[in-house]
Symmetry: C2
Subunit: 394 residues, 2 copies
């Protein structure tokens, strides 16, 4: 077969990309992000069972929180059942009210906008940077200057009349966005910044851990994340009152008492079970090894893709301090029409690759909301392919 | 010391009750409800780790759902992160809208009313039966006849003008309430019944499992429940559409597709992780043994309390088909003022006992809502003491 003939350009790309994945991973099949349990996972789970404390009370939860705080450099960590719950709780604690607006990316997992919906607020979509897929600070500033004004310390959307209460930037695929610039804008416009660091445990920006720039940060430990607790999440913050409030609300707003059951707010059953935290404690010990392994995989992919045409592999020159949660390939502008064929071809070849999320603003329940132009989001979302990225591949 | 002297009546009761607990449990200390892991718990957790599927995809979740459906006799079971999430989802799927009313007990754990709050609806409190602590069907009917009317198949509260959409009775401490009578009233008044069977796995009413009488039932597997998954819950239902909808919303409303990320509703991250389901599968195998053990404990308590004055121990003559999740002591009318002293005395003696929940209508966030008179709830809640009830005590 002559791969150079234009009519089989698509087939050629599929074949080249699948070959590069095979070469980089040295495997014939690979899942997208399979967790690896080579450390104390079983030991701690067994210990957890032996203690009989498997639920929301137990030493592993506190230990996990302490270790997450230590690792990220945050003062407090509040462990939750998952990242969505952490984000929901963060929005409540930040004081986001019904019918207020929250500035969010469209280029992210739908949980971000869902959490805004849970508090009956409105997502307001901001386009992403071409460079790192996160909210673009230049576009954000221009947009806020145009549509908002700050009155008595509160940012008002002049077009909708609603308060813009919070900004929830996301570090997409683990790659740090321009978080310092975004924080400056949030401060200037009196908007509370909550960092969606769901994917970026182990990602830093100027030597500071992602999630620690905003009033709060949120990390996920879902099964496909850099480390996993089965299902789990955490809120990190340096603010004592916020931490106390989040912890209180996550444990059904139950007042401390030796035996009485008194609750003083509408609370949530959001505390991470001890069983899941036991897994998390063991996984955290493995984190440095996991990050090294992922960085090595980046380097393998970089080599393997170096001679593949019409694509760009995003390596450590693009993201010096990323955890490389999901390794990312970007099809060149004119090749986005091959995306689905390439994905299907790679899956057929045994490699679980995936596209970016459908942009949130294109989903039916989020289609008629305020936004900037979303041309970068639309353009990039058609060109992104995430590659098998788990630790076990090196 | 002369215990017969009236000035030390309180001390005498404390001593007698602590002695009876000691005699029944044959222990010097006991927790309220410690889980026991004597079955395949370790084996299945290890297998779950080995499979690397610890999160929301995995065979244990489906297996757990299948086994719960089989055991309860429901057609479908949808496993969730906890009972609160299950209740929240059940209300959504039942179509409870903002500013509608949901008939709930005040004599239950606060999660019941919280779930109603999550959908922006209003709890409407109904008093409980003196006999079984569940919503009293006679009081409910009289109340609905007085305050509501059915117009075009919809029940309207004439006093508030709001729709009464759902009824959420609870089987308190695992003891079945008058569920058939409640179902008849719900049907007559065109109200959807969702059973809060959080505490009543293994409890039957006329040989039918609790949770299977309503449109949906909800069970909890929190650490203190009859069986545990660490944190977990389930919706059971015989309705195919409801099951499909609940499952869809619990998995972020993601459309089935080999690789695309398309979500078509505001969804939730509510699916039980496989790790927790693995524990649940093993625990379910132990359920018959656990229920026998709890029934034996009831019998031990019955003997031990037979000569204790001024109290009533609620045994199998009161509840022939209860799982006896929490063993229950009722102080006689004139002795409720000793409740806290008795609880403190028993805790000091090494026995973790507890009062009933503070009635929900007495909590600040739920204090100004529609209700019946709540005299049984108020009266009983002052007189209930739950005793150590775990399987390990026999």
């Amino acid at each position: 077969m002559n791969y150079d003939m234009p009519f089989c350009e698509k087939e050629f790309m599929i074949s080249e990309i699948a070959d590069a994945i095979r070469k980089a991973t040295k495997r014939s099949t690979a899942q997208l992000h399979q967790p690896v349990f080579n450390g104390n996972e079983w030991l701690y789970l067994k210990d957890c069972l032996d203690s009989s404390f498997v639920s929301s009370v137990g030493t592993y939860v506190s230990e996990f929180e302490k270790k997450i705080a230590q690792y990220t450099g945050a003062v407090h960590a509040i462990a939750t059942v998952n990242g969505t719950a952490a984000l929901h709780l963060a929005l409540i604690v930040a004081g986001v009210n019904a019918d207020e607006e929250v500035l969010v990316p469209s280029m992210t997992f739908v949980a971000n906008a869902n959490a805004v919906s849970y508090v009956n607020a409105k997502p307001h979509f901001i386009d992403c940077s071409e460079k790192n897929f996160g909210i673009d600070p230049i576009l954000l500033r221009a947009h806020l200057e145009k549509i908002s004004e700050v009155r008595n310390g509160i940012c008002i959307n002049k077009e909708t009349g609603r308060i813009i209460r919070a900004l929830v930037p996301m570090h997409v695929f683990g790659h740090p966005c321009d978080i310092i610039e975004l924080k400056e804008i949030a401060d200037e416009f009196q908007i509370i910044m909550i960092e969606d660091a769901a994917e970026s445990l182990g990602s830093f920006y100027r030597e500071k851990h992602t999630g620690t720039f905003g009033r709060m940060g949120v990390i996920s430990f879902n099964g496909n994340k850099t480390i996993t607790t089965g299902g789990g999440g955490v809120i990190i913050t340096n603010d004592d009152e916020i931490a106390e409030s989040a912890r209180f609300l996550s444990t059904t707003a139950k007042e401390q008492h030796p035996y009485a059951y008194v609750h003083t707010k509408v609370g949530y059953n959001y505390r991470m079970p001890n069983l899941n935290a036991a897994l998390g404690c063991a996984q955290l010990e493995e984190l440095p090894k996991i990050l090294r392994s992922k960085r090595k995989l980046t380097s393998e992919y970089k080599n393997a893709f170096s001679r593949v045409k019409n694509i760009q592999f995003l390596d450590d020159s693009n993201f010096p301090d990323s955890n490389f949660w999901l390794q990312t390939l970007l099809l060149n502008e004119n090749y986005s029409q091959y995306r689905d064929a390439i994905i299907e071809g790679c899956i057929e070849a045994g490699f679980q690759v995936r596209p970016a999320w459908s942009p949130i603003h294109s989903l039916p329940m989020y289609s008629n909301l305020p936004s900037t132009k979303l041309s970068n989001t639309i353009n990039l979302s058609k060109r992104i392919i995430n590659l098998p990225s788990g630790m076990g591949l090196t």
